[in-house]
């Protein structure tokens, strides 16, 4: 059997690529197969920046120093961004970082940050890879940080699968948690049913493999899906234009 991932130039899958396939198969085709990358929005850059700030704070920096790290990161990531939400996100960075640290400082200094994991699924021809945010090996706790302007009351399914994968790849004995941070609130939720969520991710990955096996021509695969251009996946004008050029929609 040919490796359909190889055919389409994919060396691995990740929780985010699996989630992309679930959320918008059309965007998956556009980005992963037709290689037309969409600009990263400021909300995603906010998450990356806040994480850097929180990591700095947990590594010994003061709150203000941690905020400065996050702001600097955000500025560097968005220097060319035309995202209209940039100013709003920039203004909230400090509160995000301080709120995250208010919860996580009590855990002490993590033993590792941004660790790479690799997980093999039976029958899947590429590995699943990812990077966990922070781990306290001495307590057996792994936490992924998520930023949002509204505090969720529970872990989202996509996040559950993502962190369950990290946990499965690291050790079945880890206590996996999601830390949701808003500018005003923070909540750490304990991840449940890790094994089932990992199995679900494996099922999704195998579905992607079957989809890719249909054709070696990415344009033929594109013809099998239709973009929802009102979804946030296509909110950026460049992504919208790419959808129009590909599907004439």
């Amino acid at each position: 059997m040919d490796n359909p991932f190889e055919t389409h130039g994919l060396e691995h899958l990740s929780p985010s690529s699996c989630n992309l396939f679930i959320g918008s198969p059309a965007m998956f085709v556009l980005e992963k197969l037709l290689k037309r990358r969409s600009p990263v929005g400021c909300a995603a850059h906010r998450g990356t920046s806040v994480e850097d700030g929180v990591v700095a704070g947990l590594s010994g920096s003061t709150d203000q120093e941690a905020v400065d790290v996050a702001k600097k990161k955000f500025a560097s990531l968005t220097v060319m961004s035309g995202d209209p939400r940039k100013e709003k996100e920039e203004g909230a960075i400090a509160d995000f970082v301080k709120m995250g640290l208010s919860e996580l400082r009590s855990y002490g200094q993590p033993t590792s940050f941004q660790g790479k994991i690799e997980y093999k699924v039976d029958g899947l021809l590429v590995p699943l890879i990812g990077f966990y945010d922070m781990e306290w090996a001495d307590h057996g706790i792994l936490i992924d940080l998520k930023t949002s302007h509204a505090l969720p009351s529970k872990i989202s399914t996509n996040h559950a699968r993502q962190v369950a994968l990290y946990c499965a790849a690291r050790s079945g004995n880890l206590d996996a948690r999601l830390c949701y941070v808003t500018p005003k609130k923070v909540a750490v939720y304990k991840l449940e049913n890790i094994r089932q969520h990992v199995e679900a991710l494996g099922t999704i990955a195998l579905t992607i493999q079957r989809f890719l096996s249909i054709s070696k021509d990415p344009h033929e695969l594109a013809s099998l899906v239709v973009p929802d251009v009102d979804s946030f996946y296509f909110s950026d004008p460049l992504a919208r234009q790419a959808a129009f050029e590909t599907w004439k929609l």
Binding site: Y107, S153, N173, E192, N193, R195
Partner: protein
């Protein structure tokens, strides 16, 4: 195998005390706290220390999958096993313990029908019987070491569960509030949960988690005075 399992009698028990839970799939122990109607699971795996009433371990039948309070039919371990009340009930154990002050300091119950849990509890019971000869009238102070992975099945049915690795680190006078009291109704801790060792039949999507988790607490040094 001091906690033999060849018993065949009946009994009932009821409990509304707080509980700690051993997650056999993860090898971790948590304390369920309830504050203002909100449940919080506090992970105490690394700090776990308690006086455990090993002498009065109860055995019997448990069904955690009731949709409400679990159903338990339990008797003292020196009594014969009750009749199995239904096909859904599985053989399990319950032990009452007093957590160290750093872990909350209150009386809790720990119950499970996971085979890996029973394995760890059985070892603790053996150690208890060996040590009790020289510690008459006292109860053991127990900590939890790294859990022991137990791999079962092959292929898609391969799975890893964990047996708790309890260790007796001392003996103390029995705390006044840790007295064995047989419970007579058929239910146990209303919110208690257990972890199946078998791959469960998928009847509903798996929950993701909405229970708030607290920061970990540090492990303390063994100290007889912790338990009052």
């Amino acid at each position: 195998m001091a906690l033999g399992i060849n018993y065949d009698s009946a009994g009932n028990s009821k409990s509304f005390m707080g509980f700690v839970k051993f997650n056999a799939k993860a090898g971790r122990i948590t304390r369920r706290d309830r504050d203002n109607g909100e449940n919080t699971d506090v992970d105490i795996t690394r700090s776990f220390k308690a006086v455990m009433d090993v002498e009065n371990i109860e055995h019997g039948w448990m069904d955690f999958d009731t949709g409400g309070a679990p159903s338990m039919i339990l008797v003292h371990n020196n009594e014969v096993l009750p009749a199995k009340p239904s096909d859904k009930h599985r053989k399990g154990f319950r032990i009452v313990l007093k957590l160290s002050k750093e872990n909350g300091g209150d009386i809790r119950e720990l119950s499970s029908h996971a085979a890996s849990f029973s394995r760890g509890l059985d070892k603790l019971h053996d150690d208890y019987l060996a040590g009790a000869k020289n510690n008459a009238g006292k109860v053991p102070v127990v900590v939890l070491n790294e859990p022991i992975p137990i791999v079962t099945g092959d292929g898609v049915k391969k799975q890893t569960n964990y047996a708790p690795s309890f260790e007796i680190v001392g003996w103390v006078k029995r705390p006044d509030d840790l007295q064995y009291q047989p419970r007579t109704a058929s239910a146990s801790a209303p919110a208690s949960l257990d972890d199946e060792e078998e791959i469960p039949v998928k009847r509903a999507p798996p929950s993701t988690g909405s229970t708030r988790a607290a920061a970990p607490v540090a492990r303390q040094v063994a100290d007889d005075e912790d338990f009052g």
